[in-house]
């Protein structure tokens, strides 16, 4: 090729005297014009004009073959310049069907370039290809075979396979070669169907023509990658061919720069490496020949011929893949050393690549070249540097970690690719974590990384560091031995004497707090992540700091809080750190007031929250140590999961009539049963309900079942129980009263109901009297315990105490206060009870009658509830209901009598209901 660089291509005068071009003057003129175009716009304009012309031609019915091939070439030219010419692809196919070989050749050539973008046209080609494969003219066959390799798809393989197989035995090496290439194309597309013909390829290995063998090797390379076991028996043949090549028995035309057929050697070495992989026996067969090839290729190395280097490089790769042989690995590492120390960047790159693989099987390989490898990082070539970084990651160990990390960081600073940088930073951090022997070195290194690349670091590192400093590390023991070698340690040698006074863990804390306090004092716009670590360490261990006093650190932190370059998150951490320092040292700065004042109104809620916390904590000097004890991170908080200290309290409350705790599981179970009961009941017909109440079992009565609904109530006072019973009764009575209104038979049953009500009231009155003593005592207790009760309630209580017959309001108000929230329902109940009380005061017996009227819906609900109490015995009702029906299982006041009375009432109700239905 001409070595003179043509600055401006002279299109107008260009003629190659050696090669006549077969294109017309017009086409030549177009090429020249396009060549002289000064902008892409001009060029596009010209091509578009050309395409319009071409379109006119394609519409013509008859085009002369010569003109057609010319048009095809123009299309090809337009396509090359990036224009869509799919409208005229058919011209190429037509041209390929010409009898003239030249036009056919042009047609096929253009079709093979066009067609990858147009699938339909492939099928149009298949006919002419089939015809040409059978042609006597070798040139036609060869052109057709070449086209097959480019346009064939899986569906088309059967159409041409038989023809191609015949052509494998063609007398012309050119045809054999191309037929084999076609087979290779088939093999890549559908391996299963082609592997049946493996015997045919095997024969081709012994072909007289080495270029045919070369193509056969492509097929075997493909098979060796996917199914190496099927061609292990051919290892001998491959070794033989390789021996033949290096002994120089091939025709001289296959020599390339004094190297015998380098590409074929490389193919053979590749196949052998796949076959010998993880296979000691096969590898042993290969060792010798690889060694020979390696030795031969060294001659090329001396003469500076790249082809020789290529083979040598391939040898190293092969040795790395084969079952390890120490002798060969040693030779390979020497060879790789030659690459690395070479003058050329290409060879250096290959050397580094080879070593990257080699160190995995032979770690000693890089020992001699470490300095050279690291120097590659300073090379201006980015490709080389990236490869070197990869290698360095693999060869890093405990002895060279600090050196390598330093080099990597200086390389990192020169990087601009953000994505690559991020991945590299995280890898370096990982490397330091894996191989770092000295925890102090590790902390310093991390700080260095964070200072520069803090924004790229994953925030997990913050917690790692915090954990490391607070808990120390297992590496701590080794550290003492290495202290003398460690440069960092020498620099801060004055700490040595102090450090020995403490155990390793405390020494580490002193060390780190000194470092981080210094970072805070520098007041540089470092990344937030570094400040966050610093602030945490300073806050936690400020009292251990030897280089700064706590006041100094506090002043620095205050300055930092006011600095513009830190984020709100960091600022919040700084405020917490300040709080810790104040609490640990007991010293206070005036600036803190300003800080609290300033940031209590911050827009950031976290900062605000922390400010208030600090303010709050600082106002409690007596317990400040308990809130933030020093080194609290390592103090495990013991949690008594059994809450044994509450046992006494629980027993007491049980003694006082409190309910037993029912666990969540049991509660859920009970709820489910309850639900089930209701559902079943709903399903049940009237007859069943009738049966249920007929049994009239006091065990199933409301008073015994209700507690299940009130399981959340852990403590229920006896007063309350009596109260709820009261409500219970009143509800049932009321309901029965209402039922008269909307049942036709209601009036007939009215008097009965009324009589029952009166009876009931009498019963109740008696019952209350018997329990008066108990209730009184408890009421007194309640009043004493609840000093904070409001005046109204107190008044009420007094009223109640005066009026010994009625305790309802007292209980109600008591409950209301205990719960502490003015739930509307409770209030309502309260009012109701107050009214009752008033009524009672006036007329003890008529309480129920004078109750405010209920809405129809409520009444319906109540009715069902009561019916269900007796019918099935377990009810799930509305919230209001469940609240008003708080009855304890332990209640002793409910006599069998009352229960029976209740049942009777409900029976009546159901009777009425069923009659109505």
């Amino acid at each position: 090729m001409s070595q003179t660089y043509i600055n401006k291509l002279n299109y107008q005068d260009f003629v190659n005297p050696n090669k006549p071009n077969y294109i017309t003057k017009e086409f030549e003129k177009l090429i020249r014009e396009i060549g002289d175009c000064k902008s892409k716009l001009d060029e596009d304009r010209l091509i578009e004009q050309q395409i319009i012309k071409l379109k006119k031609f394609t519409k013509k019915k008859k085009i002369k073959p010569k003109q057609q091939s010319e048009l095809v070439l123009r299309l090809l030219f337009c396509q090359l310049l990036g224009h869509d010419v799919s409208f005229a692809h058919i011209l190429a196919i037509n041209s390929s069907q010409e009898s003239n070989l030249f036009y056919k050749f042009i047609g096929y050539l253009a079709a093979s370039i066009f067609i990858s973008t147009n699938e339909d046209l492939q099928l149009l080609m298949i006919n002419s290809i089939q015809k040409d494969l059978k042609s006597d003219n070798t040139l036609a066959v060869s052109i057709a075979l070449t086209t097959i390799t480019k346009i064939i798809t899986v569906d088309m393989i059967p159409a041409v396979l038989s023809n191609v197989l015949i052509l494998l035995k063609h007398q012309e090496p050119l045809i054999r070669k191309k037929a084999l290439t076609a087979m290779y194309t088939f093999l890549k597309q559908s391996p299963e169907s082609i592997l049946k013909h493996q015997k045919d390829f095997e024969l081709m290995l012994d072909d007289k023509d080495i270029s045919v063998t070369g193509v056969a090797l492509d097929l075997f390379l493909f098979i060796s990658k996917t199914k190496p076991k099927t061609i292990k028996h051919l290892v001998v043949s491959f070794v033989e061919i390789l021996n033949l090549i290096i002994s120089g028995k091939l025709p001289i035309e296959y020599d390339y720069r004094e190297i015998h057929a380098p590409w074929i050697q490389i193919k053979l070495l590749k196949i052998l490496s796949y076959l010998g992989q993880d296979d000691p026996n096969t590898s042993r067969e290969i060792y010798q020949v690889v060694q020979l090839v390696l030795k031969e290729s060294e001659i090329g190395f001396i003469n500076g011929i790249f082809a020789g280097h290529a083979i040598m490089h391939e040898c190293i790769k092969t040795i790395t893949k084969l079952y390890p042989s120490t002798k060969l690995l040693e030779l390979a590492s020497i060879a790789a050393g030659k690459f690395v120390t070479s003058y050329s960047n290409n060879l250096k790159y290959l050397g580094i690549t080879a070593l990257t693989d080699l160190v995995l099987v032979y770690p000693e390989a890089t020992n001699k070249h470490q300095i050279i490898i690291v120097d590659c990082l300073e090379d201006p070539d980015e490709t080389l540097k990236r490869k070197t970084i990869e290698l360095l990651f693999r060869i890093t160990n405990k002895s060279n970690i600090s050196f390598i990390v330093e080099k990597m960081l200086s390389y990192l600073k020169t990087q601009k690719d953000q994505k690559y940088k991020t991945s590299l930073v995280s890898r370096i951090l990982k490397l330091a974590e894996e191989h770092g022997t000295n925890i102090k070195w590790y902390i310093l290194t991390i700080n260095k990384i964070l200072q520069i690349f803090g924004d790229l670091v994953n925030h997990d590192i913050v917690y790692n560091i915090m954990k490391l400093i607070s808990e120390g590390s297992l590496l701590e023991d080794e550290e003492d031995e290495e202290d003398e070698d460690d440069e960092e340690e020498k620099e801060s040698g004055k700490e040595g004497s102090q450090l020995t006074k403490y155990d390793g863990n405390t020494a580490l804390k002193i060390f780190s707090v000194n470092i981080y306090a210094e970072i805070i004092s520098l007041k540089k716009p470092y990344p937030n992540i570094l400040y966050q670590i610093s602030l945490w360490v300073a806050g936690e261990y400020s009292y251990l700091c030897t280089n700064f006093t706590t006041e100094e650190i506090m002043v620095n932190v205050v300055d930092l809080i006011n600095a513009f370059y830190i984020s709100d998150e960091t600022r919040a951490m700084a405020i917490t750190a300040l709080t810790k320092m104040v609490s640990h040292s007991g010293k206070y700065l005036e600036q803190i007031d300003t800080i609290i004042q300033k940031y209590s109104t911050s827009r950031n809620t976290d900062i605000r929250q922390r400010c208030f916390e600090m303010k709050g904590i600082l106002q409690l000097p007596n317990i400040i140590d308990n809130i933030l004890p020093p080194d609290s991170i390592n103090t495990d908080i013991e949690i008594d999961t059994n809450l044994e200290f509450l046992n006494e309290f629980v027993e007491n409350s049980l003694k006082n009539g409190g309910k037993k705790y029912i666990s969540k599981e049991e509660r859920i179970k009970m709820e489910n049963e309850l639900q089930l009961g209701i559902n079943e009941n709903k399903k049940k017909s009237k007859e069943l309900r009738f049966e249920a109440y007929q049994s009239n079992n006091p065990q199933q009565s409301s008073t015994w079942r209700i507690p299940q609904q009130n399981i959340y109530e852990r403590e229920v006072n006896n007063n309350q129980i009596s109260n709820t019973i009261e409500i219970e009764n009143s509800i049932s009575l009321k309901v029965s009263g209402i039922s008269q209104r909307w049942t036709e038979t209601g009036y007939s049953g009215f008097k009965e109901n009324e009589n029952q009500n009166i009876e009931n009231k009498k019963e109740k009155g008696e019952e209350k009297n018997t329990n008066d003593n108990n209730q009184n005592n408890q009421n007194n207790n309640n009043n004493n315990n609840n000093n904070n009760q409001n005046d109204n309630n107190d008044n009420n209580n007094n009223q109640i105490n005066q009026n010994n017959n009625e305790k309802i309001l007292d209980v109600k108000s008591f409950r209301f206060n205990r719960i502490g929230s003015k739930e509307p329902i409770l209030e309502e109940e309260n009012k109701i009870q107050e009214k009752n009380l008033n009524n009672d005061n006036n007329n003890n017996i008529t309480t129920i009658k004078q109750k405010p009227p209920k809405t129809e819906e409520e009444l319906k609900r109540e009715k069902t509830v009561n019916a269900l109490f007796n019918g099935v015995g377990s009810v799930r009702t509305s919230r209001k209901k469940s609240k008003s029906q708080k009855v304890n299982l332990n209640s002793k006041h409910i006599t069998k009598n009352t229960i029976e009375k209740n049942n009777e009432k409900v029976e009546n109700l159901i009777d009425l209901g069923s009659e109505k239905n």
Partner: protein, 142 residues
């Protein structure tokens, strides 16, 4: 395996391009412009290899033209580089002191020559003599 072979001049005009894997026109344009961006800025002293996506680009500059090849990472880079050189040598022998304009005017012959040497992404013929003989056979057709 060779993914594609490109010939571009220093202005970024593509003179030849051959694709050995199915690829849409948009993708091709992207690859072409990426090739130009990567290769054009590199100093001649640097290595002739660039890692690109999951492949490697091996390129070499001859006068005002960049000859490039994209190969698999397992392939031998130097062998690819030498095959580029063999291709250029063959062009030179065929045209007689080849220059960029030869490739522009005889672009279709360059494709033919490329087809003689590389097929299905592998180097098929490494003998310059045989390639030239095949080319003269084709010339004689007309």
């Amino acid at each position: 395996m060779i993914r594609y072979i490109l010939v571009q001049n220093r202005q970024g005009k593509t003179r030849l391009s051959r694709w050995y894997f199915p690829c849409s026109d948009e993708e091709k344009n992207k690859l072409l412009s990426d090739f130009y961006k990567l290769v054009n800025v590199r100093d001649p002293k640097l290595a002739n290899f660039i890692e690109y996506r999951t492949y490697k680009i091996v390129y070499r500059r001859y006068a005002g033209l960049f000859f490039g090849m994209c190969v698999d990472t397992t392939d031998n880079e130097l062998a690819a580089l030498e095959s580029i050189h063999l291709f250029v040598e063959s062009l030179d022998a065929y045209f007689g002191n080849v220059c960029e304009l030869d490739i522009v005017f005889h672009f279709w012959k360059c494709y033919a020559l490329m087809d003689e040497m590389f097929l299905t992404g592998e180097i098929q013929e490494t003998s310059k003599k045989i390639v030239l003989k095949r080319m003269s056979d084709l010339d004689r057709l007309n």
